[in-house]
Amino acid sequence: MKRLLGVFVNGLIVENPLFIIMIGLCSSMAVTTTVANGIGMGVALTFVLVMSELIISLFRNLIPESIRMPIFLIVIAAFTTIMDLEMQAYFPVLSKSMGVFIPLVVVNCIIMGRVEAYSSKQPVLDSIFDGLGMGLGYTWVLIALSVVRELLGNGTLLGFQIMPASFSPMIFFILPPGGFLVFSLWMAASNNLRRKMLAGKKPEPTQDSCCTLPENGSAEKA
């Protein structure tokens, strides 16, 4: 159990996909103009990530090495389409406001990266927790970004007016440059926290970096 918790926390902070691995940045900048979109995108990606990791981990011994990429892509694309259809049917407002970014989950590097680096080699349960950790790690960063951007750029949170009427919205934060600025400030804060978290432990992080070394995860070490 402790091992699974480690895998989960790994995605959340230690190897946060956006702040540490720094993949999947485009969509995170694009959708975080409102908190509702940030949450929606985070949940959508978490769903696709967990399901893809689950399926691929389940079939990991039946996927030939030489054609693993197309197979990963088929699985990811299938779950993205499923989620897109479900959202259109049951969350039409969210689906409309996120527009093209939902189909683009297919090419989100986080999913491909985790599937390739983790779940194609690890047991099912670990993969699910990795998907949850990475997905929620992505989600909390999106929420953190969008809270700042929506509050300062539009004066609202989740559509409710927060700032006093005299507050004039700073459009800059909704525009792409504001996204970069907010992102970098959050990244600095998060990495500071991470360094403190790891300070008490061995100087070498518990995790190898995601995409370069084949031996990955606290799973084996724990």
């Binding site: 409102t34 197979i71 088929i74 299938a78 499923i82 259809l85 093209v100």
Partner: protein, 345 residues
């Protein structure tokens, strides 16, 4: 052996694909009805919103779009207790982040009854505010961007930042929605047979571009432009107490992806006395209809080079249309100078 390996891999890939497709087919089957119902409900709610007092809607095919980029998906006649109330059209056309879909209602008296944004894929927080019921372009009256069209006359200018308030930092979205609304307004008023849908008001008569003349009559000689593609529709001659003071012409030519029609007046000394951009069917060209743009030509010599960027300023966001219209004005003015020089008007 190697070939066998390839076939095996292909088969494995096929199996995964088939399983994936079957799974998708099931999900599609279970959701497609709900999605269609939702879209239908959205459409009905939208129709009801633009015609609150209508008792029913009958599909009609009388309304047709004159612009190839603006597509009318479906049009309805709104039925009231005593006859037709007007026409509602579901329309889609290009915007900043993809197509935008609207429902536009036009009443039989030539006013827009309402505009509802069904789908908009523009930037969340900016262009997407077009569909946000809490985004007000006029905070004092709590008017939303589509809300401001309600009550507008179909003959209005529909120029963003003049008679249409733009969404902050989303001028392109504002313009494309405005264009869609205007396209429906025009087509619907044609279909309803509303007078003035192609407004020939006093501001369009040649006297507006030849202010010094007291009598204006059709010219016996028609001006012909030497520029290929420019067709001069009508030529008029302006006189003041019997003396010719100038001539005017209405001309049409291809602009960017549509046509532009202009009215140009030139005095006998070769000075442009007035210009009006009457029509521009370019997809994003409507901003050049603004009088400020046409005003720049007044007082310039017809034989002087008229160029965007040197002595004529383009309307931002419509550079190509500005360029096309400028060339048309220049060609028309040149033709008029020739006619005036030839005499015998």
């Amino acid at each position: 052996m190697k070939r066998w390996q390839m076939i095996k891999l292909g088969l494995i890939l096929a199996v995964y694909t088939i399983v994936g497709c079957v799974g998708l087919a099931f999900v599609y089957n279970s959701t497609s009805k709900t999605i269609a119902q939702r879209q239908e409900a959205d459409l009905q709610a939208g129709l009801q919103e633009v015609f609150p007092s209508a008792t029913g809607f009958t599909p009609t095919d009388k309304v047709t779009s004159s612009n190839s980029t603006i597509v009318f998906d479906v049009a309805y006649t709104a039925n009231g207790p005593s006859g037709s109330l007007g026409i509602a059209v579901k329309v889609h056309g290009p915007s900043y982040g993809g197509d935008t879909t609207l429902i536009v209602g036009v009443s039989t008296d030539g006013t827009i009854t309402g505009v509802k944004v069904l789908e908009n894929k523009d930037t969340p927080g900016l262009g997407a505010n077009a569909a946000n019921p809490k985004y007000y372009v006029d905070k004092a009256t709590k008017t939303t961007f589509p809300g401001q069209f309600a009550g507008k006359k179909v003959t209005d200018a529909f120029v963003v930042k003049q008679d249409v308030i733009a969404i902050t930092s989303a001028t392109i979205t504002s313009r494309s929605i405005t264009n869609l609304v205007q396209a429906v307004a025009k087509a619907a008023s044609d279909a309803l047979g509303i007078a003035g849908s192609s407004p020939v008001s006093s501001s369009q008569s040649p006297s507006a571009v030849l202010p010094s003349a007291d009598t204006i009559q059709p010219s016996s000689r028609v001006a012909v432009s030497s520029v290929p593609g420019v067709s001069i529709l009508e030529t008029s001659v302006g006189t003041k107490s019997g003396t010719i003071v100038g001539a005017s012409a209405k001309a049409k030519a291809k602009c960017y992806d549509g046509d532009a029609t202009v009215l140009v007046g030139v005095s006998t000394d070769g000075t442009i006395t007035g210009v009006q951009i009457l029509e521009c069917t370019d997809s994003l060209g409507s901003p050049i209809l603004a009088p400020e743009f046409a005003q720049q030509f007044v007082g310039k010599k017809a034989d002087a080079p008229l160029e965007i960027g040197t002595n004529i300023e383009a309307v931002s966001g419509a550079t190509f249309s500005s360029r096309g219209a400028t060339a048309l004005v220049k060609a028309t003015a040149d033709a008029l100078v020739k006619v005036l020089a030839g005499g015998g008007l």
